[in-house]
């Protein structure tokens, strides 16, 4: 190591302090909500809670989980996320495999690519899409949350680029010589080799589904079908409860500050759970997607 000057050392110290402060700012709001959710309701409404619970109690969580409106929405959210992710990943992986071929090996590949990529440039907008979903009779069906965005062109291209760059052509060639069909090649070679990339895209898709709320708000008319994000949006953000058929007693309980905080935190928990895996892969995935060839 070469000599490090004094000004640079001073800079390093200041820089580290600044970055530590910045990191703190990024999680402080969440810590606060977490602290409120574990606090005594009277302490919370008196604004005594900062970043540590005051009068620790699990009451808010008991009430939240025990509330059937909340637990139903939680279940709807899980169903939507699991079904939606499985559906998307299956069809995106198949398409990404085919599109990872060169145009000479798959005549028409480039034409398909243009059809897909064009949708990244132009979209019809909210109202024509809504009218279409309505005409298809998908209103109030979970399919309205799964089908319209099942194929993410961005994610599909990410997978395609990964297939192009990471699956050894010799392996595929060997499989072909052994008589493997394209479907066999996908399931026995491409998917096992590309597991990290597929895991990354799956996690992104899961996060997308879990976080989606607007489609639920416009496509579902029965509030009992709301997934958790849509439920939280109505109860906590809009605080518009006129549409919800919820018992007034339940409603009063759900709008208690500590209970609100616990709902927000439970809504965040699945993301926090997958975050370590997500973080391990996403840097790689994004870098791969951004700088291929």
């Amino acid at each position: 190591m070469h000599h490090i000057s004094l000004p640079y050392r001073i800079f390093t110290v200041c820089n580290n302090i600044f970055l530590a402060f910045l990191s703190f700012l990024c999680i402080a709001p969440l810590l606060h909500i977490l602290a409120v959710s574990f606090s005594d309701p009277s302490a919370a409404s008196a604004n005594l809670v900062k970043l540590w619970p005051v009068g620790f109690t699990l009451d808010a969580y008991n009430e939240t989980i025990g509330n059937e409106n909340f637990s139903r929405a939680l279940w709807n959210g899980i169903v939507r996320t699991v079904a939606g992710t499985a559906f998307s990943m299956f069809f995106m992986t198949l398409a990404a495999y085919a599109l990872s071929k060169d145009n000479a090996d798959f005549r028409g590949r480039n034409a398909y690519m243009w059809v897909f990529v064009f949708t990244m440039l132009l979209n019809a907008g909210l109202i024509p899409t809504y009218v279409l979903v309505q005409k298809l009779g998908l209103i109030n069906s979970v399919w309205a949350l799964i089908l319209p965005n099942a194929i993410s062109i961005f994610n599909m291209i990410l997978l395609m680029n990964f297939f192009r760059s990471s699956v050894p052509k010799t392996l595929e060639e060997a499989a072909y010589i052994d008589g493997a069909s394209h479907f066999r090649t996908v399931f026995s070679i491409y998917i096992p080799i590309s597991l990290p990339a597929i895991a990354t895209v799956s996690l992104f898709t899961m996060v997308w589904h879990w976080n989606s709320w607007f489609d639920g708000l416009i496509y579902l008319t029965d509030t009992r079908k709301y997934p958790l994000s849509t439920f939280l949006q109505t109860i906590i953000v809009q605080q518009d409860t006129t549409q919800m058929n919820i018992d007034p007693e339940d409603l009063k309980m759900l709008s208690e500050r500590t209970v609100r905080a616990s709902q927000v935190f439970i809504g965040t928990a699945p993301i926090l759970l997958v975050y370590p895996f997500l973080q391990r892969y996403f840097v790689k995935g994004i870098v791969l997607g951004a700088v291929k060839e």
């Binding site: 069809f91 109202i127 009218v131 994000s229």
Partner: protein, 320 residues
Amino acid sequence: MKTVTESHDIAPVPSDRNRPKTKWNIKRDWPLHLMVFPALVLILIFQYAPLPGLVMAFQEFKPWLGFTNSPWVGLEQFRKMIEFPQARQVILNTFIISSFKIVFNLIVPFVFALLLNEVRVMLFKRVVQTFVYLPHFLSWVILGGVLIDILSTEGGLVNQVITSIFPVEPIFFLGDGDWFRFTVVVSDIWKDFGFSAIVFLAAISGIDPSLYEASVIDGANRFQQMLYITIPGMIPIAIVVGTLSLGNILNAGFDQIFNLYNPLVYHKGDIIDTYVYRIGLISGDYSFGTAVGMFKSVISFILIVIAYRLAYKYANYRIF
């Protein structure tokens, strides 16, 4: 599929994406066509099929009359959009908010990546990254809930801190138009600066280490290395990111604004997307909503095409 001819060639041939179009070979390629088919159908239905619905923008659309029987009004809806002060204000708001976001979402991640690169303790670096990437993955519903709580004027955490340091009244972050814009821009940067920095960190790690070694021999100190090697190494990708973000000039962030705004701040905080939602789906004026949405789609389309062309021409960037 063993019967397929020898032209089924998966051997490593050089990419031929510039070759002129060739005829389809259904007999050989049908399994591949079959694999693309479901994705293609979904895209055709949900991305292309709504496009004809844009005719609503030229009609006085009534759902019970349908596209064919609703009366045609020509450019009436667009005239309304231009003459209606509320709609003009909404377009202006969108432009102002997204411009601030575009500029700061370029500068802040750039500077952050530069500063993070100077951290030599790997563990610390990783901890910082873990924390700053996190907000990106949380939805605006969650963050809306969090922000409404901590920005409240009645004992919200932020106002508690501000009033205890400065002798001021609590700030109406979400209830005053100008403060609302400020809050929207700052919270958006807060959410995404870490994640947006990844692409810059990747650019830094792509810089040839021998440049640094050579600079040390020439007597450069760390600041000079930063100034003459690291920053120039990041500029090309910064240009690409900046150019591509032009396509977002009318995207001021629907999810965020919808979860933070309220009627008090409509005059400064209402944007095209939220306006289209309220006018179109809540008030039921499908045609006017479609027209405003179409205005946005068309302008965005032109800007995205220009941005991609520029990025391709000057930085050789392409998406596939």
